[in-house]
């Protein structure tokens, strides 16, 4: 390796523009004649549309579903048997099914004027009973979200195991119910899309803030009835994705339709209120679980029922069942046990359509299994640290096929736990806890260990029954006449630093100077097809593709170099920014010049494919590579106010070979900040009619700088045997573990009071309620005794 290649701590290429405020996002793009769009959104969770009245004089500025000629509803079917199909219209037809659903759109030269028109649109909607509660929605007397279904279940899945026999013999049984709140994702930049007609190219050009430009092109062409060659999707900078921008948005369909129909530029920029209502689309899980263990707390089996409130429609392409089905498959986590039974319910509700959020189902399952692990430890009277360590898959068992068939490729899970315990000074904390603070402040310690499947291969995705199965990844590298390198890949940059890390891969293979590499991502007109940036796949898949393309380019450069330096190809080395053979050397510019400008200097048998290479990549074993991690938290709980302070936070992570350790740290810490939000703050509650009660950031609490502690991060680098350089994905993991670690720490602090929380976010209200409940119980007991 070089000091700029794989493993180097180079400064991100993206930093210069972003730190100077010179990034270019959708809302930075302007063009003559641009019209702004404001949507009229349903204020009713479930209702029949009686009439939509356009304002007199502005009829031509307002569009409803029937105006959208040629637009098909978004249908995301699943290949899994029993899945019920929903039709998600870009603008509501017949019924509205959640507060925030687009009903009409209004155009004007500015957003303010478009909102003035939207104000005058009358939406006459007759309310129906709203389906909100996951359990009530499953009952036979529930109202139906989709009238042509006979229940509210998108899908039910089940994994069977012989729990019944185990239940008769297992000495320890622990039953718990766990809940996670519905949440928003909050990328700093919300959604945004601008579309216009390019007469020269004969194309609809769409600038959209997306993680998946090529998929959006496929989807827009499908639902608008356009040939794919007539659509170009070219996303500018994207200010955070987290999954929010990995699906086709109805707003994208609407704006694309306007531009296609009127051949003029139109745009829509999501505001925070739209985000907090129509975008409240993740994390709402419910678990009913019983764990079976021996008297030392060794897990023998697990029985679970998981319900996910997936909202009104199936999103394209990830469908309405990805969350619950993944939850069922991932719940066993990093633990070694062999009997598992699980039923999952993907429940349709009158809430925004569920979209996979960083970690997808795993923040929920990790919370559930990690709290269960601590509950088992308390039940058998042992330290959760010891019980957890004994239940983890051991290093010597690798590769390990778990109870749901996941193939854990490498690593040492117990070692990550013991390292975290050492870094957080677990022993000291236990000593400190013995002296109880008179002020009502209690200290607690919690752990959370998980695996993160990343870079899933096509077979994994195909088994989820997606309408579009993510494929392999390709990338193009090209040497320019002046000896610089251009990389083009279809994956997109969404803040994860791919321009930097893909360059490092090229540097690793070509020895070219890092500053001489330029990266273009995501433009469907100039990059190979990619299903995009999600599921922690970018670095392994696109990195692998750049690596393969660079290796082929290196071969061609060596051939030309050998000819120019009059030596054997095998004697040519690419390093330190030059091409060497013995004492002689050439610059990359010499090679570029020979190929492009002085081809008469080339050998007769030169490869006429030239200095531009497109190659693809597929991991050797494509069942996914498993990053794993342990988070540990020390919290102080003020038992009088219910407030929680994180005193110390440790992350021990193993994502295999790190391409840029600074970027890995950024991913882990940023993810953990979001996880702290999930654990303590973030929640979209609804009233009985389905009105979201947190439609501004005053009501929806996000962690700020003061709530996110300094984190101590440690890395193991166990290379995956299956991927290029041994890399594993690391984009999501940071967000997975915090709820488990933090709530375990809270429960550890409060266990003497008889308090155990099982629901997140662990708000002061929930904590105080639990404490007061425990106090009442104690008081009643005292009374009974006396």
């Amino acid at each position: 390796m070089t000091d700029q290649g794989v493993g180097a701590r180079v400064i991100r290429k993206e930093d210069d523009r972003h730190l100077h405020g010179r990034g270019r996002f959708v809302s930075d793009i302007s063009m003559p004649g641009l019209q702004d769009v404001a949507f009229c959104r349903s204020g009713i969770a479930h209702g029949t549309i009686k009439e939509i009245v356009k304002p007199v004089g502005n009829e031509d500025k307002v569009f409803v579903a029937t105006d959208l000629k040629g637009v098909l509803p978004i249908i995301a079917d699943s290949g899994i048997p029993g899945f019920k199909v929903s039709e998600f219209p870009a603008l509501a037809t017949g019924k509205v099914r959640y507060v925030g659903e687009c009903v009409a759109m209004c155009i004007a030269p500015s957003r303010a004027e478009a909102e003035d028109i939207a104000d005058q649109v009358v939406m006459n909607i007759e309310a129906l009973p709203a389906v909100l509660d996951t359990h009530k929605a499953r009952q036979s007397d529930s109202a139906l979200v989709h009238d042509d279904w006979d229940d509210n279940l998108f899908l039910t899945t089940s994994i069977d195991g012989d729990i019944d026999t185990l239940a008769k013999t297992a000495p320890v049984q622990v039953t718990r119910e766990f809940k996670t709140a519905r949440q928003c994702m909050h990328p700093m930049e919300g959604k945004g899309v601008l579309a216009y007609w390019d007469f020269q190219a004969g194309q609809l050009v769409v600038h959209t803030s997306t993680q998946v430009p090529h998929m959006i092109r496929t989807a827009l062409s499908e639902f608008l009835g356009l040939e794919q060659s007539m659509v170009r999707v070219t996303p500018p900078d994207v200010g955070g994705g987290f999954g929010y921008k990995c699906v086709l948005q109805p707003e994208e369909v609407c704006i694309a339709w306007l531009a296609k129909t009127y051949k003029k530029p139109f745009r829509w920029i999501e505001d925070r209120r739209e985000h907090l209502t129509a975008g409240a689309n993740s994390r709402e899980h419910h678990y009913q679980m019983t764990a079976y263990a021996d008297k030392h707390g060794r897990l023998l089996g697990l029985d679970a029922e998981i319900s996910v409130s997936v909202g009104a429609y199936s999103v394209w392409p990830f469908t309405a069942c990805i969350e619950a089905a993944q939850a069922g498959g991932n719940l066993p986590g990093p633990y070694d046990f062999s009997i598992y039974r699980c039923k999952t319910y993907s429940v349709a509700t009158n809430k925004p359509p569920f979209t996979p959020y960083r970690g997808v189902a795993r923040p929920g399952v990790c919370f559930a299994i990690e709290l269960m692990m601590d509950a088992i430890a308390r039940e058998v009277g042992r330290d959760p640290l010891d019980v957890r360590a004994e239940n983890l898959v051991k290093g010597a068992q690798m590769p390990y096929n778990n109870v749901t068939g996941k193939h854990y490729d490498s690593g040492d899970y117990p070692k990550s736990l013991s390292k975290a315990a050492e870094m957080i000074n677990a022993k000291d904390i236990r000593t400190q806890q013995k002296s109880v603070d008179a002020s009502g402040r209690r200290i607690g310690l919690g752990f959370s260990t998980f695996t993160e499947q990343s870079a899933h291969g096509t077979k994994v995705f195909a088994s989820w029954g997606l309408p579009l199965v993510p494929g392999f990844e390709q990338a193009t590298v090209r040497l320019t006449p002046d000896g610089r390198l251009e990389i083009r890949a279809g994956i997109h940059t969404i803040g994860q630093g791919l321009e930097t890390t893909l360059s490092q891969v090229a540097v690793e293979e070509l020895g070219i100077d890092y500053d001489h590499v330029r990266v273009t991502l995501g433009d469907t007109a100039s990059t190979p097809y990619s299903t995009g940036a999600y599921a922690s796949r970018g670095m392994v898949m696109a990195g692998g593709a750049v690596s393969n393309a660079s290796r082929e380019l290196a071969k061609r450069i060596r051939k030309i170099g050998a000819h120019l330096m009059q030596c054997n190809e095998t004697d040519v080395r690419l390093e330190g920014g030059r091409i060497h053979a013995g004492a002689a050397s050439l610059s990359f510019a010499d090679i570029g010049k020979a190929w492009y400008l002085r081809p008469e200097q080339l050998p007769d048998d030169v490869n006429t494919m030239g200095l531009e290479v497109t190659e693809g990549y597929k991991p050797d074993v494509d069942s996914g590579v498993f990053t794993y991690s342990t988070h540990a938290a020390v919290v102080a709980v003020d038992t009088e106010t219910g407030l929680v302070e994180i005193l110390d936070y440790v992350i021990v992570d193993d994502c295999g070979r790190m391409v840029n350790p600074m970027i890995v740290d950024g991913q882990l810490i940023g993810g953990a900040a979001q996880g702290i939000g999930t654990a303590l703050f973030e929640e979209t509650p609804y009233d009985a009619e389905g009105q979201p009660l947190s439609s501004t950031l005053q009501d929806y609490t996000l962690p700020g700088a003061a709530e996110v502690p300094h984190m101590k991060v440690e890395h193991f680098e166990t290379p995956s045997p299956y991927s290029r350089y041994g890399m594993k994905g690391v984009g999501e993991g940071g967000a997975i573990a915090p709820p488990g670690a933090i709530v375990n720490a809270i429960n550890d602090a409060l266990q003497d009071m008889g308090v155990e929380l099982t629901e997140i976010p662990a708000t002061p209200h929930r904590i105080l309620t639990a404490i007061m409940h425990a106090e009442d119980k104690k008081a009643a007991l005292m009374e009974a005794v006396s």
Binding site: T701, G704, P764, L768
Partner: protein
């Protein structure tokens, strides 16, 4: 989230500001620091025909030392209190309270008069000015009147301000040398509005003791009888606190009662440390 179309005028003296504000023939609103008005405009909760900016109004920017009290122009910014650019009538209490209002960016622009006129029950100045027995000078085209803070707040976001009337200044009696104060609020995170707050001011020389609970569903609650007990018994009065808070907040949830009790106890403990 864009405001409706409105006219905007920046006044430089109070006469023209009141003239522009009119008498309610159309919707005309005062904007000062804009830290509450801004979001309300964008959410279209307020749809004004005209906004009158008073931050440059001379009379609203003055600060006068009257000997026994200090008068702060309504457009005095939170940051001016925090940075001690203006004198503190309350022996450090106003400075301390100001430094805990929202975030510095908000404090740079937000004004004391704007916060009081907005009358969010969770706002720090609402509870604090009641605890300090501040007087507000209100002015309309026909003249001015003084209203005690305790009479000014009628409910959540509801005040004694009439049509075409603005807060001109806030007069705070000076605390004497041996006075003590306590202020405590419970917030979910730094900078958030409080879930419970309490202010206690004890000034024996002036025979003044006031105990106020804030961040309620309505206007701040003054615990008059309890203040007398506190003035006599000091920290020992804490024994009765639970019942007192419970009785003062009959409609609040048990969790809310607990939080208000804790906030109040901690404020009192600042005055009477153990």
């Amino acid at each position: 989230m864009k405001p409706v179309d409105f006219d905007f005028e920046k006044s430089s003296d109070i006469k023209s500001a009141l003239e522009t504000l009119g008498n309610g023939e159309d919707v005309r609103k005062v904007i000062s620091g804009g830290q509450s008005m801004g979001p309300m405009l964008n959410l279209r909760l307020v749809r004004p025909d005209m906004l009158v900016d008073v931050t440059q109004v001379r009379e609203l920017c003055d600060v006068l030392d009257n000997g026994a009290s200090i008068t702060y122009g309504a457009a005095t910014r939170h940051a001016a209190f925090e940075d001690a650019v203006v004198p503190d009538a309350a022996a450090g209490m106003m400075r301390s309270v100001a430094s805990g209002i929202a975030y510095r960016a908000v404090r740079n622009r937000g004004t004391i008069g704007g916060s009081l006129a907005h009358a969010d029950p969770a706002a720090d100045w609402v509870t604090t000015t009641v605890a300090l027995d501040a007087q507000f000078t209100l002015r309309n085209k026909n003249g001015q009147r003084n209203v005690a803070a305790s009479a000014f707040f009628l409910g959540a976001f509801t005040t004694a301000l009439g049509e075409g009337e603005i807060i001109e200044s806030v007069t705070v009696p000076k605390l004497t040398a041996d006075a003590a104060w306590g202020y405590y609020k419970i917030c979910r995170k730094v900078g958030e509005f409080a879930d419970a707050s309490a202010a206690v001011v004890v000034d024996p020389k002036r025979q003044y003791c006031r105990v106020v609970m804030g961040a309620l569903d309505g206007a701040p609650v003054i615990l008059e009888d309890f203040a007398d007990t506190l003035a006599t018994r000091g920290r020992d009065a804490l024994a009765d606190l639970k019942d007192i808070v419970h009785n003062a907040l009959p409609d609040a949830s048990p969790v809310a009662v607990r939080q208000h009790e804790v906030a109040l106890r901690r404020a009192i403990e600042q005055v009477y440390p153990s």
